[in-house]
């Protein structure tokens, strides 16, 4: 048993937190150690209202999708920055090696606000074509590496 890290939150705890925090008001499903939570998020009053969805399985990194409106359509076919997948759009919200997210952290206090900031910078990017939110890009040399990078990210989460 390790005592140096806080205890991981169960999916039931995450589900309850998402349900009770007004910033992630929405609906979802908890089945065993898997949760799916959909919520509306808008970075500012002047922004669109987006439908976001968190998919998370105990011990794995949470995945965040934007189900609507269609970001690719809004971007007029431009390649979206800081996403793992272009379609369905899956957001890159944190660096897996910087300790920004761990399984003991609440999704409603990390992933949800980060989704809002991502969307703010997305709307700015639509106008300026520049990502002002900062961040890092992994070095990808070939497609093979790209695949393994995608796999490794979905499995890596500080435990």
């Amino acid at each position: 048993m390790r005592f140096d890290r806080p205890k991981s939150l169960t999916m039931a705890q995450q589900f309850l937190n998402l349900r009770t925090n007004p910033i992630s008001a929405g609906g979802g499903r908890l089945r065993g150690n898997t949760l799916s939570w959909g919520f509306s998020v808008s970075p500012t009053l002047l922004s669109r209202i987006y439908s976001a969805r968190i998919e998370c399985r105990q011990g794995l990194s949470p995945q965040v999708f934007i189900d609507g409106p269609d970001l690719l359509m809004i971007s007029g076919g431009r390649r979206l920055p800081h996403v793992y997948e272009q379609s369905p759009v899956r957001l890159c919200l944190f660096h897996p090696d910087f300790g920004e997210f761990g399984s003991w952290m609440r999704l409603d206090q990390t992933i949800v606000p980060w989704t809002a900031t991502w969307l703010l910078y997305f709307e700015e990017w639509l106008t300026s074509n520049e990502w002002a939110g900062g961040g890092l890009h992994p070095r990808l040399h070939d497609q093979g590496q790209r695949r393994s990078y995608s796999r490794s990210l979905s499995s890596r989460v500080a435990r």
């Binding site: 500012t44 800081h82 957001l91 206090q109 980060w114 709307e123 639509l126 900062g134 961040g135």
Partner: protein, 409 residues
């Protein structure tokens, strides 16, 4: 398996309240644009001390007629509806030099000459003086122009009106800058009636802990002044790539907006100031009159504060001016409608650019991004229900922790 969804009624209230807040925020954005187009406080104070000095110089003359003169503000500076012109630094400060002891017996050209000659006696004024058809202009480079129009009392006007030289300097024309300003200010003091939205009523019954951070901004000017500024800036932007000689004069825009404002405010109840703005602009042409004069229809936008001044006079000799007004008006209604329905900050940026030009649009947007960006860096950014990212957190908001966006470029 546990399944949960948000209630339909709650979702409706959420959207209702959000729409109201969004409109409030949008009007706030337009106010910010207006503020940036106004002369700064320093500029206004400097203009004031300059025109007061000019007034003193004129009234300190040896001439008895000039000694009885007084100088006062007219036009947009007097009304609080100034917008700086596009592409030049100087804005106009319109002044009246009222010569109370003169009358119609003096030829208008002679009257104008009298004021001009006095200004030329001053070494500095002589250097910056420019003669315009009806007035004298003092050019304070990169700051403002003082446009000084001489006027005399109008004995037949029961409303304290005055007479100014016409463009040809051959006859006197009735006008009433003080009366006009009073009439405008009376309307500007009218406050639109706002409907309480369903959600706001519900909120008032809710506990304090439930109150959302409301994007509170002080409203320094009345709604009417802002509406006139917005309309004038839209006009300036619209005519930038068109025939600028046909640009509807400010007094027409101001007069129609103030009449329309009085009508709208007295007749309707609104959800937001943005709705007031759109409605007031929409109703502006309702107050233009057409009457048959000598067998043909003529346009009238009368100065209600004195007999015999028709602001639309030139529309009758140059019908292209009337057409230009209506074309601009249609565009203004459409652009404001597009603005109210714009989606996303990118959509807002596009519609603001179309309506008011690239510079004010990008400045306002940059302001939003800079505020959020610096709050995010210093850890002062929160996400609140309804309003989104905010630097003014409440009990229901969640702090935005540090993160590094990762992934493919």
């Amino acid at each position: 398996m546990l399944v949960c969804s948000v209630g339909d009624e709650e979702a409706c209230v959420h959207i209702d309240h959000r729409t109201a807040l969004k409109k409030f925020e949008l009007f706030g954005v337009l106010e910010q644009i207006c503020e940036r187009l106004e002369p700064s406080e320093t500029q206004s104070e400097r203009a004031k001390s300059c025109y007061e000095a000019v007034g003193q110089w004129i009234s300190n003359a040896g001439n008895d007629w000039l000694r009885s003169s007084s100088i006062y503000l007219q036009g947009s500076t007097a009304l609080g509806t100034t917008v700086k012109p596009i592409g030049r630094n100087e804005y106009d400060v319109d002044l009246v030099c009222f010569l109370s002891s003169l009358g119609r017996w003096l030829h208008p050209a002679k009257c104008k000459q009298l004021v001009g000659d006095r200004l030329k006696e001053h070494q500095y004024y002589r250097a910056i003086l420019e003669e315009k058809p009806r007035c004298w202009r003092l050019n304070y480079a990169n700051e403002f122009h003082l446009d000084i129009t001489p006027s005399i009392p109008n004995m037949v006007c029961t409303n304290g009106g005055e007479l100014v030289p016409d463009k040809s300097l051959q006859c006197w024309k009735p006008t009433n800058p003080k009366g006009y300003r009073n009439a405008f200010q009376r309307r500007a003091e009218l406050v639109p009636r706002m409907r309480m939205t369903k959600s706001m009523t519900m909120d008032s019954v809710r506990a304090d802990a439930d109150i959302e951070p409301y994007p509170e901004k002080p409203r320094f000017r009345g709604v009417l002044c802002r509406i006139v500024q917005i309309a004038k800036r839209h006009r300036d932007t619209y005519f930038l790539w068109r025939d600028e000689s046909l640009l509807p004069i400010s007094v027409i825009v101001t007069t129609l907006a103030s009449w329309s404002y009085e009508y709208c405010v007295n007749s309707f109840v609104y959800d937001s100031e943005l709705d007031v703005l759109c409605d007031v602009i929409r109703h502006m042409p309702d107050f233009i009159e057409q009457h048959e004069v000598n067998g043909r229809f003529e346009w009238f936008i009368r100065n209600e504060t004195t007999e015999g001044e028709n602001f639309a006079e030139r529309w009758n000799s140059e019908p292209a001016r009337a057409n230009a007004f209506f074309e601009w008006h249609n565009a203004a209604v459409a652009d404001l409608d597009r603005l109210a329905r714009s989606e996303g900050l990118d959509g807002l940026s596009k519609s603001l650019t179309a309506a008011f030009g690239q510079k004010p649009a990008s400045e306002v947007l940059e302001n939003i991004f800079t505020n959020v960006g610096s709050a995010r860096r210093t850890g002062g950014l929160s996400l609140a229900p309804l309003v989104g990212l905010t630097v003014a957190p409440t009990a229901r908001a969640t702090l935005v922790r540090h993160n590094t966006f990762y992934g493919a470029p």
